[in-house]
Every structure is written in C-alpha cells, then in structure tokens.
C-alpha cells in the first residue's frame, strides 16, 4: 500500500503543482513537529496531550490520504483516551517511524514534481 494517495491529492489540487508543493511543505512540517511533541508527551506520561496530538496527526495525515499513519495515530489516540498504556510507547515509536517514511516519500514526490514543473 502506498504511504499516501497521489491521485487524490492531484484531484484535490487539480494538478496544480504549486498547490501540491505547498501542501506537502505544510503537512511534512506539521507531522514531524506533532510527532516529536507526541513522543515527548509519552515520555512525560501526559496522556491528554498524547491523545490530542495523536488526533491532530490524524488530521494532518488525512490531507495526503496517508491511511496507514492515520490508522496508527488513531490506535494511539484511543489507547491514550482509555489509559491503555501497555503498548503506547511502542506504538508511538512505530508512528514516528511511519511519519518519517511518509515525509521522506512526500518530499521525494515534491522533488519530482518540482523538477517536472521547472522542466
């Protein structure tokens, strides 16, 4: 499964490369920032903040239809809500990895888009 849905993003932005590049910049920046904060809150045991950030990550990831990241963040949100803390540390690191991969792929796509846009 692809980390995100290029076809849907192209549809939303009607193939406007500038719009897509802006979206990628915003989503990449926000996902990395939110995930770093989430890991920090998990470390401190601040579960309401963990829940809120997991929710925010789902919203940001859904903008590029990154269903896998959305699903992983949802698992953490539910766990934090129900104070099921047994797997939350592991899950948050898995999410961090998935976000890293997603952002890398997004930036990769952005590079290709930029190259074809300039060409």
């Amino acid at each position: 499964m692809d980390a995100f849905d290029t076809a849907e993003i192209r549809k939303v932005f009607e193939d406007d490369a500038d719009g897509i590049l802006d979206l990628i910049a915003i989503v990449s920046r926000d996902l990395l920032r939110y995930t770093a904060l989430l890991i920090e809150h998990v470390r401190c045991g601040e579960w309401e903040d963990v829940r809120r950030l997991a929710h925010t990550i789902q919203g940001a990831a859904s903008n590029v239809s990154a269903r896998e990241v959305v699903a992983q963040a949802r698992t953490i949100e539910l766990a934090a809500k129900q104070r099921r803390l047994d797997s939350i540390v592991e899950d948050s690191h898995a999410l961090s990895q998935a976000v890293g991969l997603l952002v890398a792929e997004l930036r990769n796509w952005a590079g290709r888009l930029r190259a074809s846009h300039v060409a």
Binding site: D5, E8, K11, V12, F13, E14, D16, G19, D22, L23, A25, I26, V27, R29, D30, R52, H55, T56, Q58, G59, A60, S62, N63, V64, S65, A66, R67, V70, R74
Partner: protein
Amino acid sequence: MTAAERALPHDSAPPSSALRILAVDDDAGTRLTLVSIIQAAGWTPVVVADPEQAYDILTGPDAPPIALVDWEMPKLSGIELCQKVRRADPDARPYLIFVTINASANDIVTGLDAGADDYMVKPFAAVELQARVRAGLRTIAVQSDLRTRLREAETIAALTKPLRETMPICVYCHRVRHGAAQWSTLEEYLHTEINVKFTHGFCPTCYTSHVKPDLEGGA
C-alpha cells in the same frame, strides 16, 4: 508560515459574488485542502482557524449559508460551535457539515445531535465533499422556499382573518360594519381589506328575472 498559508483567504470579504462556503479548522494543511476543493467547485472559500471567529461570521450579517466544521479545535470545539450557532438564531440555520477524523458511530451521533446537518470523516474524496455541499444547497433552497410560502400563508391568514369572524351586516342595504363604526358595501370592504377585484356580470337567476325581461321589453 508557507506562501500558501499566507495566501489563504481569511475573514475578508470575498472578491466575487460566488456562493461563500465557510471552513473552520485549526490545521493549516486541512485549510489549504478545503480552499482548493471549494474553489474547484466554483465557490468562494471563507477560511478561518479560530472557531470563535467562525461563530462571529456565522451569526453576523451576510453569513455564508454552509460551513465545514472541524471537531477538535482550541478554545471552542466543533460541537460547542454547532450548539452555539443553533442557540444564537434558530431561524437562521446555516447548513453545518462536520469534517473530522472522528469516525465512530458515537461521534457521528454526537455531531449530528449537536446541530450539524451532515458529517464527513477524513480522509475523504474531494468529489464527495462537493456533492455533500451541493446536497446542502438543495436543502437550503427547499427550506428557503418553505419559509417564503409560510410567510405568504401567514400574510393571507392575517388579511382574511375578519372573514372568518362574525361580521355585522345591514338587513336592508347589506352594508357590512368594520372598524369602529364604518359601514361599507361588501364590494368596497373586500376590495379595500384584501384587494379583491370584482368583474360585473349576472347570475342565472338575475338573468331570468331582470336581464331577460329588459331585453325582451326592449325588443
């Protein structure tokens, strides 16, 4: 802040007279996505990050008829925003669509019970959101038509109210009394009060008793 974020429309007046759609979401990526989806459909986006600002727009003059509302936002949740808007003016009724990541059946029930008219779970297809906005516009049109008809019916009911009440009528000249002590012919009264217009003719009985003898006598 990216160039796109700086370029996002805010609460300023839209440049065109196209239908305005309000979107409120504290996530910059979602705002950018919604702007693109709204513009692609030919509507004008009015996009804000602050739900309190969204409330002011929705309850102010020239409020957009449709709003896309995020659930989880700082200061005021989407749920609270819907409830506040509904309490503010039950007759204004902007069409509110939740656009949220909250996907459980309980969430959907909570959102709709808070006063939302529709509910969309992210991620979603752009065409689906546009179709739901169009469905909302149809609902708004029907509601608006019903309100117009209701107002017309109320006006007619008020005008014709005296006709459903007991009205004194003179046994000799058949003038009716209205107001304090004003007497008018039935024709004058109906014309003045409810703008009935009369054309003159004769009924079959009067034709036989009046018109026909006149015609025959004349011949």
